[in-house]
Amino acid sequence: MKKIIFMAGVSVIGGFSLLPFLWFVTTSWKTATEISAIPPVIWPSFHWEHYHGALAQHGLLRYIANSAIVAGATTVVSIVIASLAAYALARFKLRWGRYYLLLLLALSMFPQIAIAGPVWRLLSWLGWLNSYHGLVAAYISLSLPFAIWVLATFFKELPRDIEEAALIDGCSRWQTLRLVVLPLAAPGLFTAAILVFIHAWNEFFFALIILTYPAVQTLPVGIALFPGEYTMPWGEIAAASTIATLPLVVLTLIFQRRIVQGLSAGAVKG
Protein backbone atom coordinates (compact mmCIF):
# COMPACT_ATOMS: atom_id res chain seq x y z
CA MET A 1 0.00 0.00 0.00
CA LYS A 2 2.75 2.36 0.98
CA LYS A 3 4.47 1.54 -2.24
CA ILE A 4 1.49 2.60 -4.34
CA ILE A 5 1.30 5.99 -2.68
CA PHE A 6 5.02 6.35 -3.18
CA MET A 7 4.91 5.49 -6.87
CA ALA A 8 1.98 7.86 -7.26
CA GLY A 9 4.14 10.57 -5.69
CA VAL A 10 6.94 9.74 -8.10
CA SER A 11 4.60 10.04 -11.08
CA VAL A 12 3.16 13.32 -9.86
CA ILE A 13 6.61 14.82 -9.41
CA GLY A 14 7.80 13.54 -12.75
CA GLY A 15 4.67 14.73 -14.49
CA PHE A 16 4.76 18.12 -12.82
CA SER A 17 8.31 18.69 -13.99
CA LEU A 18 8.14 17.27 -17.45
CA LEU A 19 4.63 17.53 -18.84
CA PRO A 20 4.36 21.30 -19.32
CA PHE A 21 7.63 21.22 -21.18
CA LEU A 22 6.68 18.21 -23.26
CA TRP A 23 3.44 19.92 -24.17
CA PHE A 24 5.37 22.87 -25.49
CA VAL A 25 7.77 20.67 -27.43
CA THR A 26 4.98 18.73 -29.13
CA THR A 27 3.43 22.04 -30.11
CA SER A 28 6.39 22.68 -32.35
CA TRP A 29 5.28 19.87 -34.60
CA LYS A 30 1.62 20.75 -34.81
CA THR A 31 0.03 22.63 -37.63
CA ALA A 32 -1.44 26.04 -36.88
CA THR A 33 -4.92 24.61 -36.74
CA GLU A 34 -3.87 21.85 -34.41
CA ILE A 35 -2.25 24.38 -32.11
CA SER A 36 -5.34 26.51 -31.73
CA ALA A 37 -7.71 23.58 -31.57
CA ILE A 38 -10.12 23.10 -28.74
CA PRO A 39 -10.23 20.42 -27.40
CA PRO A 40 -6.43 20.34 -27.68
CA VAL A 41 -4.79 17.85 -29.98
CA ILE A 42 -2.34 15.73 -28.02
CA TRP A 43 -0.50 13.89 -30.71
CA PRO A 44 1.21 16.20 -33.19
CA SER A 45 1.30 15.49 -36.89
CA PHE A 46 5.06 16.03 -37.10
CA HIS A 47 4.86 19.04 -39.26
CA TRP A 48 8.31 20.53 -39.67
CA GLU A 49 7.44 23.91 -41.11
CA HIS A 50 7.80 25.76 -37.89
CA TYR A 51 11.38 24.62 -37.67
CA HIS A 52 12.06 25.90 -41.16
CA GLY A 53 10.44 29.15 -40.26
CA ALA A 54 12.36 29.54 -37.04
CA LEU A 55 15.66 28.74 -38.65
CA ALA A 56 15.25 30.55 -41.93
CA GLN A 57 13.12 33.57 -41.19
CA HIS A 58 14.02 34.23 -37.64
CA GLY A 59 17.72 33.55 -37.88
CA LEU A 60 17.76 31.02 -35.11
CA LEU A 61 21.10 29.62 -36.16
CA ARG A 62 22.76 32.95 -35.65
CA TYR A 63 21.35 33.20 -32.13
CA ILE A 64 22.55 29.71 -31.35
CA ALA A 65 26.01 30.49 -32.64
CA ASN A 66 26.19 33.65 -30.56
CA SER A 67 25.06 31.84 -27.45
CA ALA A 68 27.56 29.07 -28.04
CA ILE A 69 30.45 31.49 -28.44
CA VAL A 70 29.52 33.56 -25.42
CA ALA A 71 28.75 30.63 -23.13
CA GLY A 72 31.81 28.73 -24.26
CA ALA A 73 34.20 31.62 -23.77
CA THR A 74 32.67 32.47 -20.41
CA THR A 75 33.05 28.89 -19.21
CA VAL A 76 36.67 28.53 -20.22
CA VAL A 77 37.87 31.82 -18.77
CA SER A 78 35.72 31.55 -15.63
CA ILE A 79 36.98 28.10 -14.80
CA VAL A 80 40.61 29.13 -15.21
CA ILE A 81 40.28 32.19 -13.00
CA ALA A 82 38.06 30.38 -10.51
CA SER A 83 40.45 27.45 -10.20
CA LEU A 84 43.32 29.71 -9.30
CA ALA A 85 41.29 31.64 -6.76
CA ALA A 86 39.63 28.55 -5.32
CA TYR A 87 42.90 26.72 -4.90
CA ALA A 88 44.45 29.68 -3.15
CA LEU A 89 41.49 29.98 -0.83
CA ALA A 90 41.40 26.29 -0.11
CA ARG A 91 45.08 25.69 0.48
CA PHE A 92 46.91 28.89 1.36
CA LYS A 93 46.23 29.67 4.98
CA LEU A 94 44.69 33.08 4.62
CA ARG A 95 43.06 34.65 7.58
CA TRP A 96 40.76 36.61 5.38
CA GLY A 97 40.01 33.65 3.14
CA ARG A 98 36.71 32.90 4.76
CA TYR A 99 35.68 36.54 4.55
CA TYR A 100 36.50 36.70 0.88
CA LEU A 101 34.33 33.66 0.27
CA LEU A 102 31.50 35.22 2.21
CA LEU A 103 31.97 38.43 0.26
CA LEU A 104 31.66 36.46 -2.95
CA LEU A 105 28.52 34.90 -1.64
CA ALA A 106 27.08 38.31 -0.88
CA LEU A 107 28.07 39.58 -4.32
CA SER A 108 26.25 36.75 -6.02
CA MET A 109 23.12 37.94 -4.33
CA PHE A 110 23.15 41.42 -5.85
CA PRO A 111 20.09 41.97 -7.97
CA GLN A 112 21.26 42.62 -11.51
CA ILE A 113 19.63 46.03 -11.58
CA ALA A 114 21.95 47.23 -8.86
CA ILE A 115 24.96 46.99 -11.12
CA ALA A 116 23.35 47.05 -14.57
CA GLY A 117 23.56 50.77 -15.20
CA PRO A 118 27.21 51.27 -14.31
CA VAL A 119 28.20 48.05 -16.08
CA TRP A 120 26.46 49.30 -19.17
CA ARG A 121 28.23 52.64 -18.93
CA LEU A 122 31.56 50.96 -18.34
CA LEU A 123 31.17 48.74 -21.40
CA SER A 124 29.93 51.68 -23.42
CA TRP A 125 32.99 53.69 -22.43
CA LEU A 126 35.24 50.77 -23.43
CA GLY A 127 33.40 50.44 -26.71
CA TRP A 128 32.46 46.91 -25.78
CA LEU A 129 28.71 47.15 -26.16
CA ASN A 130 27.25 44.79 -28.71
CA SER A 131 30.39 42.69 -28.68
CA TYR A 132 31.15 39.21 -27.55
CA HIS A 133 33.92 40.24 -25.20
CA GLY A 134 31.74 42.79 -23.52
CA LEU A 135 29.08 40.29 -22.60
CA VAL A 136 31.62 37.62 -21.74
CA ALA A 137 33.37 40.00 -19.35
CA ALA A 138 30.10 40.69 -17.58
CA TYR A 139 29.24 36.98 -17.49
CA ILE A 140 32.60 36.03 -16.04
CA SER A 141 32.07 38.30 -13.10
CA LEU A 142 28.60 36.84 -12.64
CA SER A 143 29.86 33.25 -12.63
CA LEU A 144 32.99 33.71 -10.57
CA PRO A 145 31.40 33.74 -7.11
CA PHE A 146 29.54 30.54 -7.71
CA ALA A 147 32.38 28.79 -9.53
CA ILE A 148 34.89 29.74 -6.84
CA TRP A 149 32.59 28.44 -4.10
CA VAL A 150 32.00 25.12 -5.79
CA LEU A 151 35.66 24.61 -6.65
CA ALA A 152 36.92 25.71 -3.24
CA THR A 153 34.65 23.19 -1.58
CA PHE A 154 35.89 20.57 -3.98
CA PHE A 155 39.58 21.34 -3.47
CA LYS A 156 39.20 21.28 0.29
CA GLU A 157 38.01 17.71 0.07
CA LEU A 158 41.06 16.46 -1.77
CA PRO A 159 43.62 14.73 0.44
CA ARG A 160 46.45 17.09 1.28
CA ASP A 161 49.19 14.46 1.38
CA ILE A 162 49.62 14.25 -2.35
CA GLU A 163 50.08 17.98 -2.67
CA GLU A 164 52.47 18.04 0.27
CA ALA A 165 54.48 15.29 -1.37
CA ALA A 166 54.69 17.38 -4.54
CA LEU A 167 55.84 20.42 -2.60
CA ILE A 168 58.52 18.37 -0.87
CA ASP A 169 59.61 17.10 -4.26
CA GLY A 170 60.21 20.70 -5.24
CA CYS A 171 57.08 21.72 -7.13
CA SER A 172 55.98 25.32 -6.99
CA ARG A 173 52.41 26.06 -6.07
CA TRP A 174 51.56 26.64 -9.67
CA GLN A 175 53.12 23.35 -10.73
CA THR A 176 51.37 21.53 -7.93
CA LEU A 177 48.07 22.91 -9.07
CA ARG A 178 48.66 22.15 -12.70
CA LEU A 179 50.30 18.74 -12.48
CA VAL A 180 48.84 17.19 -9.38
CA VAL A 181 45.62 18.84 -8.26
CA LEU A 182 43.82 19.60 -11.49
CA PRO A 183 43.97 16.05 -12.83
CA LEU A 184 42.59 14.83 -9.50
CA ALA A 185 39.97 17.53 -9.45
CA ALA A 186 38.87 16.99 -13.03
CA PRO A 187 35.38 15.79 -12.08
CA GLY A 188 34.83 18.87 -9.93
CA LEU A 189 36.10 21.15 -12.66
CA PHE A 190 33.85 19.48 -15.14
CA THR A 191 30.85 19.93 -12.89
CA ALA A 192 31.62 23.58 -12.30
CA ALA A 193 32.05 24.05 -16.05
CA ILE A 194 28.66 22.53 -16.81
CA LEU A 195 26.99 24.76 -14.26
CA VAL A 196 28.72 27.89 -15.57
CA PHE A 197 27.84 27.00 -19.13
CA ILE A 198 24.18 26.45 -18.39
CA HIS A 199 24.01 29.68 -16.45
CA ALA A 200 25.68 31.67 -19.23
CA TRP A 201 23.50 30.10 -21.91
CA ASN A 202 20.33 30.99 -20.03
CA GLU A 203 21.22 34.48 -18.89
CA PHE A 204 18.86 37.15 -20.12
CA PHE A 205 19.05 40.47 -18.29
CA PHE A 206 22.55 41.52 -19.25
CA ALA A 207 22.23 40.07 -22.72
CA LEU A 208 19.15 42.21 -23.17
CA ILE A 209 20.77 45.46 -22.19
CA ILE A 210 24.20 44.92 -23.69
CA LEU A 211 23.28 43.38 -27.03
CA THR A 212 20.89 45.48 -29.04
CA TYR A 213 21.90 44.49 -32.54
CA PRO A 214 20.18 41.28 -33.66
CA ALA A 215 23.38 40.09 -35.30
CA VAL A 216 25.03 39.48 -31.95
CA GLN A 217 22.07 38.68 -29.76
CA THR A 218 22.00 35.44 -27.86
CA LEU A 219 19.30 32.85 -27.79
CA PRO A 220 17.33 33.99 -24.75
CA VAL A 221 17.05 37.47 -26.21
CA GLY A 222 15.98 36.06 -29.54
CA ILE A 223 13.29 33.96 -27.94
CA ALA A 224 12.05 36.66 -25.63
CA LEU A 225 11.75 39.21 -28.40
CA PHE A 226 10.17 36.85 -30.86
CA PRO A 227 8.10 39.04 -33.13
CA GLY A 228 4.35 38.75 -33.12
CA GLU A 229 2.02 41.48 -32.10
CA TYR A 230 -1.48 40.27 -32.69
CA THR A 231 -1.11 36.60 -33.27
CA MET A 232 1.81 34.84 -31.66
CA PRO A 233 3.50 32.34 -33.95
CA TRP A 234 3.42 29.70 -31.26
CA GLY A 235 4.57 26.97 -33.53
CA GLU A 236 7.72 28.81 -34.37
CA ILE A 237 8.35 29.92 -30.82
CA ALA A 238 7.95 26.34 -29.69
CA ALA A 239 10.30 25.16 -32.42
CA ALA A 240 12.88 27.79 -31.53
CA SER A 241 12.55 26.93 -27.84
CA THR A 242 12.97 23.25 -28.49
CA ILE A 243 16.14 23.82 -30.46
CA ALA A 244 17.37 26.24 -27.82
CA THR A 245 16.87 23.85 -24.97
CA LEU A 246 17.75 20.58 -26.61
CA PRO A 247 21.48 20.73 -25.86
CA LEU A 248 20.78 21.72 -22.27
CA VAL A 249 18.27 18.97 -21.68
CA VAL A 250 20.67 16.42 -23.14
CA LEU A 251 23.52 17.78 -21.00
CA THR A 252 21.31 17.64 -17.94
CA LEU A 253 20.11 14.11 -18.56
CA ILE A 254 23.62 12.82 -19.10
CA PHE A 255 25.32 14.67 -16.28
CA GLN A 256 22.49 14.86 -13.77
CA ARG A 257 24.54 13.23 -11.07
CA ARG A 258 27.39 15.71 -11.37
CA ILE A 259 25.04 18.66 -11.58
CA VAL A 260 23.25 17.61 -8.44
CA GLN A 261 26.58 17.14 -6.68
CA GLY A 262 27.82 20.52 -7.76
CA LEU A 263 24.68 22.40 -6.83
CA SER A 264 24.50 20.88 -3.39
CA ALA A 265 28.24 21.04 -2.77
CA GLY A 266 27.99 24.52 -1.43
CA ALA A 267 24.80 23.75 0.42
CA VAL A 268 26.03 21.08 2.78
CA LYS A 269 29.69 21.89 3.23
CA GLY A 270 29.29 25.61 3.07
Binding site: G9, A82, A88, Q112, S141, F204, M232, L253, R257
Partner: protein, 296 residues
Protein backbone atom coordinates in the same frame (compact mmCIF):
# COMPACT_ATOMS: atom_id res chain seq x y z
CA UNK B 1 50.38 24.08 5.18
CA UNK B 2 51.55 27.58 5.93
CA UNK B 3 53.97 28.87 3.39
CA UNK B 4 54.74 32.52 3.69
CA UNK B 5 55.92 32.58 0.11
CA UNK B 6 52.68 31.40 -1.40
CA UNK B 7 51.92 33.34 -4.56
CA UNK B 8 48.70 34.64 -3.08
CA UNK B 9 48.39 37.62 -5.32
CA UNK B 10 49.10 35.84 -8.55
CA UNK B 11 46.41 33.33 -7.81
CA UNK B 12 43.80 35.69 -6.56
CA UNK B 13 44.41 38.80 -8.63
CA UNK B 14 42.34 37.88 -11.70
CA UNK B 15 39.27 37.17 -9.61
CA UNK B 16 39.87 40.34 -7.59
CA UNK B 17 39.96 42.33 -10.80
CA UNK B 18 36.64 41.07 -11.99
CA UNK B 19 35.07 41.44 -8.59
CA UNK B 20 36.23 45.00 -8.22
CA UNK B 21 35.47 46.10 -11.76
CA UNK B 22 32.12 44.44 -12.24
CA UNK B 23 30.70 44.20 -8.76
CA UNK B 24 32.16 46.64 -6.26
CA UNK B 25 32.73 49.57 -8.56
CA UNK B 26 29.28 49.32 -10.18
CA UNK B 27 27.57 49.28 -6.83
CA UNK B 28 29.42 52.39 -5.76
CA UNK B 29 28.71 54.01 -9.07
CA UNK B 30 25.03 53.22 -8.76
CA UNK B 31 25.00 54.94 -5.43
CA UNK B 32 26.76 57.92 -6.93
CA UNK B 33 24.41 58.11 -9.91
CA UNK B 34 21.40 58.04 -7.65
CA UNK B 35 22.27 61.56 -6.62
CA UNK B 36 22.14 62.84 -10.16
CA UNK B 37 19.57 63.47 -12.80
CA UNK B 38 20.82 61.74 -15.90
CA UNK B 39 18.78 60.84 -18.94
CA UNK B 40 20.44 58.54 -21.44
CA UNK B 41 18.49 59.66 -24.45
CA UNK B 42 19.01 63.33 -23.73
CA UNK B 43 22.78 63.48 -23.28
CA UNK B 44 22.98 67.19 -23.82
CA UNK B 45 21.26 67.71 -20.51
CA UNK B 46 24.44 66.44 -18.90
CA UNK B 47 24.62 65.26 -15.34
CA UNK B 48 22.84 67.38 -12.84
CA UNK B 49 23.57 66.84 -9.19
CA UNK B 50 20.26 66.74 -7.41
CA UNK B 51 21.29 65.32 -4.04
CA UNK B 52 18.38 63.64 -2.31
CA UNK B 53 15.71 64.63 -4.79
CA UNK B 54 15.63 61.23 -6.44
CA UNK B 55 15.18 59.54 -3.09
CA UNK B 56 12.40 61.88 -2.22
CA UNK B 57 10.70 61.11 -5.53
CA UNK B 58 11.14 57.42 -4.87
CA UNK B 59 9.55 57.64 -1.47
CA UNK B 60 6.51 59.42 -2.84
CA UNK B 61 6.26 57.47 -6.08
CA UNK B 62 3.11 55.34 -5.95
CA UNK B 63 4.42 53.10 -8.70
CA UNK B 64 7.58 52.45 -6.72
CA UNK B 65 5.64 51.64 -3.60
CA UNK B 66 3.43 49.34 -5.64
CA UNK B 67 6.56 47.71 -7.00
CA UNK B 68 7.85 47.04 -3.54
CA UNK B 69 4.56 45.56 -2.41
CA UNK B 70 4.29 43.42 -5.53
CA UNK B 71 7.82 42.11 -5.04
CA UNK B 72 7.16 41.33 -1.40
CA UNK B 73 3.95 39.49 -2.21
CA UNK B 74 5.81 37.55 -4.83
CA UNK B 75 8.53 36.56 -2.40
CA UNK B 76 6.08 35.75 0.37
CA UNK B 77 4.08 33.37 -1.80
CA UNK B 78 6.64 31.69 -4.01
CA UNK B 79 9.36 31.04 -1.45
CA UNK B 80 7.37 28.92 1.01
CA UNK B 81 5.61 27.16 -1.87
CA UNK B 82 8.91 26.25 -3.49
CA UNK B 83 10.50 25.10 -0.25
CA UNK B 84 7.50 22.93 0.59
CA UNK B 85 7.37 21.41 -2.86
CA UNK B 86 11.12 21.06 -2.76
CA UNK B 87 10.88 19.19 0.54
CA UNK B 88 8.34 16.82 -0.93
CA UNK B 89 10.48 16.16 -3.98
CA UNK B 90 13.60 15.74 -1.85
CA UNK B 91 11.93 13.21 0.43
CA UNK B 92 10.93 11.13 -2.57
CA UNK B 93 14.34 11.46 -4.21
CA UNK B 94 16.03 10.42 -0.96
CA UNK B 95 14.53 6.95 -1.10
CA UNK B 96 16.24 4.43 -3.29
CA UNK B 97 14.05 3.05 -6.02
CA UNK B 98 14.51 1.95 -9.55
CA UNK B 99 14.49 4.91 -11.87
CA UNK B 100 15.66 7.34 -9.21
CA UNK B 101 18.35 8.65 -11.56
CA UNK B 102 15.72 9.29 -14.20
CA UNK B 103 13.46 11.15 -11.81
CA UNK B 104 16.35 13.27 -10.66
CA UNK B 105 17.17 14.15 -14.27
CA UNK B 106 13.54 14.96 -15.05
CA UNK B 107 13.27 17.18 -12.01
CA UNK B 108 16.29 19.11 -13.26
CA UNK B 109 14.73 19.94 -16.61
CA UNK B 110 12.74 22.98 -15.44
CA UNK B 111 15.91 24.31 -13.84
CA UNK B 112 18.02 23.71 -16.93
CA UNK B 113 15.92 25.43 -19.57
CA UNK B 114 16.29 29.18 -20.02
CA UNK B 115 13.82 31.19 -18.00
CA UNK B 116 12.64 33.02 -21.09
CA UNK B 117 11.75 29.71 -22.69
CA UNK B 118 9.72 28.67 -19.70
CA UNK B 119 8.14 32.12 -19.79
CA UNK B 120 7.04 31.62 -23.37
CA UNK B 121 5.87 28.16 -22.46
CA UNK B 122 3.65 29.39 -19.67
CA UNK B 123 2.43 32.22 -21.83
CA UNK B 124 1.26 29.55 -24.22
CA UNK B 125 -0.32 27.51 -21.47
CA UNK B 126 -2.16 30.57 -20.17
CA UNK B 127 -3.33 31.63 -23.61
CA UNK B 128 -6.85 32.97 -23.53
CA UNK B 129 -8.11 31.13 -26.57
CA UNK B 130 -6.48 27.75 -26.65
CA UNK B 131 -4.26 27.49 -23.60
CA UNK B 132 -4.22 24.20 -21.73
CA UNK B 133 -4.86 26.01 -18.46
CA UNK B 134 -8.22 27.25 -19.67
CA UNK B 135 -9.09 23.90 -21.17
CA UNK B 136 -8.45 22.14 -17.90
CA UNK B 137 -10.69 24.62 -16.10
CA UNK B 138 -13.50 25.10 -18.56
CA UNK B 139 -13.27 22.38 -21.18
CA UNK B 140 -14.94 23.31 -24.45
CA UNK B 141 -16.65 26.42 -23.19
CA UNK B 142 -14.26 28.84 -24.89
CA UNK B 143 -16.46 31.83 -24.17
CA UNK B 144 -15.77 31.44 -20.47
CA UNK B 145 -12.03 31.34 -20.89
CA UNK B 146 -9.88 33.66 -18.83
CA UNK B 147 -6.92 35.69 -19.96
CA UNK B 148 -4.78 35.26 -16.88
CA UNK B 149 -1.97 37.42 -18.16
CA UNK B 150 -4.27 40.27 -19.00
CA UNK B 151 -6.40 40.30 -15.88
CA UNK B 152 -5.06 42.45 -13.05
CA UNK B 153 -6.19 39.92 -10.50
CA UNK B 154 -4.61 36.92 -12.16
CA UNK B 155 -1.42 38.13 -13.80
CA UNK B 156 0.75 38.00 -10.70
CA UNK B 157 -0.60 34.57 -9.85
CA UNK B 158 0.37 33.32 -13.28
CA UNK B 159 3.91 34.60 -12.90
CA UNK B 160 4.13 32.94 -9.50
CA UNK B 161 2.98 29.62 -10.94
CA UNK B 162 5.64 29.88 -13.62
CA UNK B 163 8.33 30.68 -11.05
CA UNK B 164 7.30 27.85 -8.75
CA UNK B 165 7.44 25.44 -11.65
CA UNK B 166 10.85 26.64 -12.69
CA UNK B 167 12.69 26.70 -9.40
CA UNK B 168 11.15 24.14 -7.03
CA UNK B 169 13.74 21.67 -8.23
CA UNK B 170 16.56 23.94 -7.09
CA UNK B 171 15.09 24.01 -3.60
CA UNK B 172 14.65 20.24 -3.84
CA UNK B 173 18.34 19.72 -4.55
CA UNK B 174 19.51 21.79 -1.62
CA UNK B 175 17.13 20.00 0.72
CA UNK B 176 18.11 16.64 -0.73
CA UNK B 177 21.73 17.36 0.11
CA UNK B 178 20.68 18.06 3.67
CA UNK B 179 18.67 14.86 3.87
CA UNK B 180 21.53 12.75 2.64
CA UNK B 181 23.80 13.83 5.45
CA UNK B 182 21.52 12.34 8.06
CA UNK B 183 23.16 9.04 9.07
CA UNK B 184 21.07 6.00 8.29
CA UNK B 185 21.94 4.59 11.69
CA UNK B 186 19.74 7.13 13.41
CA UNK B 187 16.72 5.72 11.61
CA UNK B 188 17.80 2.20 12.56
CA UNK B 189 18.13 3.20 16.20
CA UNK B 190 14.67 4.74 16.01
CA UNK B 191 13.30 1.54 14.46
CA UNK B 192 14.61 -0.39 17.38
CA UNK B 193 13.11 2.10 19.77
CA UNK B 194 9.79 1.38 18.12
CA UNK B 195 9.24 4.53 16.07
CA UNK B 196 6.70 4.58 13.23
CA UNK B 197 7.48 6.23 9.89
CA UNK B 198 5.69 9.38 10.90
CA UNK B 199 7.53 9.51 14.24
CA UNK B 200 10.84 9.05 12.47
CA UNK B 201 9.98 11.93 10.16
CA UNK B 202 8.91 14.20 12.99
CA UNK B 203 11.68 13.49 15.46
CA UNK B 204 14.65 12.80 13.22
CA UNK B 205 14.18 14.01 9.66
CA UNK B 206 12.54 17.32 10.32
CA UNK B 207 14.87 18.65 13.01
CA UNK B 208 17.98 17.52 11.15
CA UNK B 209 16.92 18.90 7.78
CA UNK B 210 16.15 22.33 9.20
CA UNK B 211 19.51 23.83 8.20
CA UNK B 212 18.97 22.78 4.61
CA UNK B 213 15.42 24.13 4.69
CA UNK B 214 16.74 27.41 5.99
CA UNK B 215 19.33 27.53 3.25
CA UNK B 216 16.75 26.81 0.56
CA UNK B 217 14.45 29.42 2.04
CA UNK B 218 17.10 32.07 1.98
CA UNK B 219 18.46 31.28 -1.46
CA UNK B 220 14.96 31.38 -2.87
CA UNK B 221 14.07 34.59 -1.08
CA UNK B 222 17.04 36.40 -2.56
CA UNK B 223 16.35 34.96 -6.01
CA UNK B 224 12.66 35.83 -5.83
CA UNK B 225 13.57 39.48 -5.41
CA UNK B 226 15.50 39.22 -8.66
CA UNK B 227 12.64 37.97 -10.83
CA UNK B 228 12.78 39.65 -14.19
CA UNK B 229 12.79 37.29 -17.16
CA UNK B 230 9.33 35.96 -16.47
CA UNK B 231 7.85 39.43 -16.11
CA UNK B 232 9.55 40.74 -19.22
CA UNK B 233 8.26 37.96 -21.46
CA UNK B 234 4.90 37.26 -19.93
CA UNK B 235 3.43 40.56 -18.87
CA UNK B 236 5.91 43.41 -19.30
CA UNK B 237 4.97 44.62 -15.85
CA UNK B 238 1.28 44.93 -16.57
CA UNK B 239 -1.63 44.79 -16.60
CA UNK B 240 -1.95 48.03 -14.68
CA UNK B 241 1.41 47.53 -12.99
CA UNK B 242 0.17 44.47 -11.12
CA UNK B 243 3.32 42.57 -12.03
CA UNK B 244 5.66 45.51 -11.98
CA UNK B 245 8.23 44.01 -9.65
CA UNK B 246 11.18 46.02 -8.39
CA UNK B 247 13.77 44.76 -10.80
CA UNK B 248 11.49 45.29 -13.76
CA UNK B 249 10.59 48.79 -12.68
CA UNK B 250 14.26 49.61 -12.32
CA UNK B 251 14.92 48.23 -15.79
CA UNK B 252 12.12 50.24 -17.29
CA UNK B 253 13.31 53.46 -15.78
CA UNK B 254 16.98 52.97 -16.55
CA UNK B 255 16.91 51.37 -19.95
CA UNK B 256 13.51 51.67 -21.50
CA UNK B 257 13.05 55.27 -20.47
CA UNK B 258 16.73 56.09 -20.14
CA UNK B 259 16.37 57.75 -16.75
CA UNK B 260 19.57 56.38 -15.31
CA UNK B 261 19.62 58.67 -12.34
CA UNK B 262 16.23 57.67 -11.02
CA UNK B 263 16.82 54.10 -12.12
CA UNK B 264 19.94 54.08 -10.00
CA UNK B 265 17.93 55.23 -7.05
CA UNK B 266 15.64 52.26 -7.49
CA UNK B 267 18.69 50.08 -7.95
CA UNK B 268 20.20 51.27 -4.70
CA UNK B 269 16.94 50.65 -2.85
CA UNK B 270 16.70 47.13 -4.21
CA UNK B 271 20.34 46.55 -3.43
CA UNK B 272 19.89 47.63 0.17
CA UNK B 273 16.94 45.33 0.56
CA UNK B 274 18.95 42.42 -0.81
CA UNK B 275 21.94 43.36 1.30
CA UNK B 276 19.95 43.26 4.51
CA UNK B 277 18.62 39.85 3.60
CA UNK B 278 22.08 38.66 2.58
CA UNK B 279 23.58 39.79 5.87
CA UNK B 280 20.93 37.97 7.85
CA UNK B 281 21.63 34.90 5.76
CA UNK B 282 25.40 35.13 6.17
CA UNK B 283 25.03 35.68 9.88
CA UNK B 284 22.98 32.52 10.26
CA UNK B 285 25.13 30.53 7.86
CA UNK B 286 28.38 31.91 9.22
CA UNK B 287 27.41 30.88 12.72
CA UNK B 288 26.95 27.37 11.51
CA UNK B 289 30.22 27.45 9.57
CA UNK B 290 32.06 28.33 12.77
CA UNK B 291 30.18 25.71 14.74
CA UNK B 292 31.06 23.06 12.21
CA UNK B 293 34.70 23.81 12.50
CA UNK B 294 34.62 23.45 16.24
CA UNK B 295 33.04 20.02 16.40
CA UNK B 296 35.20 16.95 15.64
Amino acid sequence: MIHSRDPVWRFLLPSFLFVILFSLYPILDSVRLSFYRLILTLPWLGQKFVAWENYHDLATDPVALNSLVTSLIFVAVTTPAEVLLGLGMALVLNESFRGRGWLRAIVLVPWAIPTVVSAQMWRFLFNDRYGLFNFVLFGDATDRYWAPLAEPGLALMSIMVADIWKTSSFAALIILAGLQVIPGELYEAASIDGASSWQKFRHITLPLVKPALLLALLFRTIDALKVFDLVFVMTQGGPADTTNVLQFYGYKKSFAEGMIGYGSTIAVAVFLLSLILSLIYIRLLGARLLAQERSP
